[in-house]
C-alpha cells in the first residue's frame, strides 16, 4: 500500500512525533495535529527540510467538540488524506478512589471519544474510496488490568478491541486497520502523568523510533495487532493465556515496581 497524506494526532511529542517522522521519511505528506502550534510549526519545518514532504499544521484540542470537528473536517474534506494516526492520548496515575470525576472523564474524552469520532470519519471516508489506513495507538496496558491507572488501561482495552473489530469489518475493502500496543516507551508521557517508572529495568523500555517503525510497518502490512519488542510480546501472550486472577496480581506487582 502506498500512502499519500497522513493526519497524525498528538504529533508534537513522543510516539506521535516519531510516527510523523517515520511517515515523512517514507515520503508521506502530513497534517500534524496537537494543541501546541509552536511545537508543531517547528516540527513541520524540520520534516519538510529533511524529507522534502509537504507538512500542514492544525492546532486543535481533541478533548473539545470544536477541536474534534476541526480534525474530522480535515480527514473527510481533503481528498488526498488516506491515513489517520490516532495517537493523542493521556494517562493519569493514582487510585480511582479519591480521584476527580472530571479528570477521569477528560481522559476518556481524549482516549476514547475523540479516537472513536476520528476513526469513524476515516472508516466512512476510506471505505467509500476503497483505500486508506488507520493506525490506532493503544498500549500493552490494554491487555490486562492496571491498578493505579485503571481508567487509562480501560481506555486502551477499548482501543484495541475497537481496532481489531474494525480491522475485520474493513479487511475486504482494502482499508488497513492496525492497533499499535507499545509497552513502556521513552517519551514525555510518564512525566506528564506524574508517573515515576524509574524502578523498571532498562530491558523493559523501548525507544519511540523503534515503536514508530514497527507501527508503520505493521500498518502497511495490515496487521491487526502490533506489539513492538520481544519481552512485550511475551507479556501480551501471557496476559491472554493466564487466568485473570494471575494477571491482576502481576499487574498489581508491576504497578508497585513502576509506580510510587
Amino acid at each position: 500500500m502506498k500512502l499519500e497524506r497522513a493526519v497524525v494526532t498528538g504529533a508534537s511529542a513522543g510516539i506521535g512525533r516519531a510516527i510523523a517522522e517515520e511517515l515523512a521519511r517514507r515520503g508521506v505528506a502530513l497534517v500534524l495535529v496537537a494543541r501546541d502550534a509552536v511545537r508543531l510549526e517547528e516540527l513541520a519545518a524540520g520534516l519538510t527540510r529533511e524529507h522534502g514532504v509537504q507538512v500542514e499544521v492544525l492546532a486543535a484540542d481533541l478533548t473539545s467538540d470544536e477541536g474534534r470537528a476541526l480534525v474530522e473536517d480535515r480527514v473527510a474534506a481533503l481528498p488526498t488524506v488516506d491515513c489517520l494516526v490516532n495517537n493523542a492520548g493521556m494517562g493519569t496515575y493514582g487510585p480511582m478512589a479519591g480521584s476527580s470525576v472530571s479528570a477521569e472523564q477528560q481522559q476518556v474524552e481524549l482516549n476514547v471519544v475523540a479516537l472513536l469520532r476520528l476513526t469513524q470519519v476515516a472508516a466512512q471516508t476510506f471505505n467509500v474510496r476503497r483505500h486508506g489506513a488507520i493506525l490506532n495507538v493503544s498500549s500493552l496496558a490494554g491487555f490486562q488490568p492496571n491498578p493505579g491507572h485503571a481508567t487509562y488501561g480501560a481506555t486502551k482495552a477499548f482501543v484495541t478491541s475497537l481496532s481489531e473489530a474494525l480491522h475485520e469489518e474493513l479487511r475486504d475493502v482494502g482499508v488497513h486497520v492496525t492497533a499499535l500496543c507499545p509497552g513502556y516507551t521513552r517519551t514525555e508521557f510518564h512525566d506528564r502523568a506524574d508517573w515515576d517508572a524509574t524502578g523498571l529495568p532498562d530491558m523493559a523500555w523501548a525507544s519511540a523510533v523503534d515503536v514508530a517503525r514497527a507501527g508503520v510497518d505493521g500498518l502497511l502490512a495490515n496487521r491487526a495487532l502490533v506489539v513492538p519488542g520481544g519481552p512485550n510480546r511475551v507479556l501480551a501472550g501471557l496476559s491472554q493465556v493466564l487466568p485473570s486472577a494471575v494477571t491482576r496480581r502481576m499487574a498489581g506487582a508491576v504497578t508497585k515496581l513502576g509506580g510510587r
Binding site: V108, A154, L162, A165, E168
Partner: protein
C-alpha cells in the same frame, strides 16, 4: 441474604438491571432505581415494595447527559439513606458496521456504556472507600473477551468496563469495598429489539435468563469475585478464547456473527 442495605441500580427499568434490582429486593436490600422512564420505575418500585417490603426510591435520569450523571452521582455520595451498592448496568448497543453508522449514535453509546460507568464508579469508589465498606457491580458482557466485528463499539465499551472493573478490584482489595464485573452472554432482554437485532438464529443453549444472571452477579459481588461469567457454556467459551490466537478469534467472531445473524 445480603451484607448490603441499599443498592443504586442504573438502567433498572428492564432486563438485567430490573432483575438485579428484584434480586436485591428479595434479599431485603432497599433500592434506588435509576432510568429515563419514570412510569416503569414507579411500577418496579411498587412491585419491590409490595412483594418484598423494601423501600424503593425512583430517580429519573438520562445517564447519556451531564445533568443525568450529576443526579446519580449526588445520590451515590449522599449521607442520608446512604447507598452501599452501585450497580452500573445501564447500557445500549448499536448493531452496524462502523463505516455505515450514524456517528452521533455511536457517541451516545459510548457516553452511556463508558463515560457514565467511569464517572459513577469513581464516585462510588471514593464514597465507599471513605466509609470502609460497599460494593460496585459493573455489568460488562462476554463481548469484552474478544473483538466483535459488527458491534465494534459495544464490545470495545464492554472491554473497557471489564478492564476498569478488574483494576478497581485490585485497587480496593482489603478496603472492605467489593468490586465485581459480570459478563453475561446472550440474555433474554429488550436490548436486542432496541438495537434492531433479529435473534431467531441464536441457538437455544446459548441463551441465559436475566434472573439467573442477576443471581450469579449478586452472589459474585458478595464473594468479591472479580469476574463473574454466568452459564457453564459461556465459561467454556471464555476459556477457549484465551487459548485462541487473536487472528483466529477475530475470524471466529466474524463467522459466528454471520451464523447468528448479527453484525449488520
Amino acid at each position: 441474604m445480603s451484607s448490603y442495605t441499599r443498592a443504586l441500580v442504573t438502567g433498572a427499568s428492564s432486563g438485567i438491571g430490573r432483575a438485579i434490582a428484584l434480586e436485591y429486593a428479595k434479599r431485603g436490600v432497599d433500592l434506588v432505581l435509576v432510568a429515563r422512564t419514570e412510569s416503569r420505575l414507579k411500577a418496579l418500585a411498587d412491585e419491590a415494595n409490595a412483594t418484598y417490603d423494601v423501600h424503593a426510591e425512583v430517580l429519573v435520569a438520562d445517564l447519556c447527559t451531564e445533568q443525568g450523571r450529576l443526579i446519580a452521582e449526588q445520590r451515590l455520595a449522599a449521607d442520608h439513606r446512604p447507598v452501599d451498592v452501585l450497580v452500573n448496568n445501564a447500557g445500549m448497543a448499536v448493531d452496524e458496521e462502523l463505516a455505515d453508522s450514524d456517528p452521533d449514535i455511536r457517541i451516545q453509546e459510548v457516553e452511556l456504556n463508558v463515560v457514565a460507568v467511569t464517572r459513577l464508579a469513581t464516585t462510588a469508589a471514593s464514597t465507599f472507600r471513605a466509609r470502609g465498606r460497599g460494593g460496585i457491580l459493573n455489568v460488562s458482557s462476554v463481548t469484552a473477551f474478544w473483538p466483535v466485528p459488527g458491534n465494534a463499539t459495544y464490545a470495545a465499551g464492554k472491554a473497557f468496563v471489564l478492564s476498569l472493573s478488574e483494576s478497581l478490584h485490585v485497587e480496593l482489595d482489603g478496603t472492605g469495598v467489593h468490586v465485581s464485573a459480570v459478563c453475561p452472554g446472550f440474555t433474554r432482554t429488550e436490548i436486542f429489539d432496541r438495537a434492531g437485532l433479529d435473534t431467531s438464529k441464536v441457538p437455544g443453549p446459548l441463551w441465559l435468563d436475566a434472573h439467573d444472571v442477576a443471581h450469579a452477579a449478586v452472589e459474585g459481588l458478595e464473594q468479591n469475585d472479580a469476574v463473574v461469567t454466568p452459564g457453564s457454556l459461556w465459561q467454556a467459551m471464555r476459556l477457549a478464547s484465551r487459548l485462541t490466537p487473536p487472528p483466529m478469534a477475530r475470524r471466529m467472531t466474524s463467522v459466528m456473527e454471520r451464523l447468528t445473524g448479527f453484525g449488520g
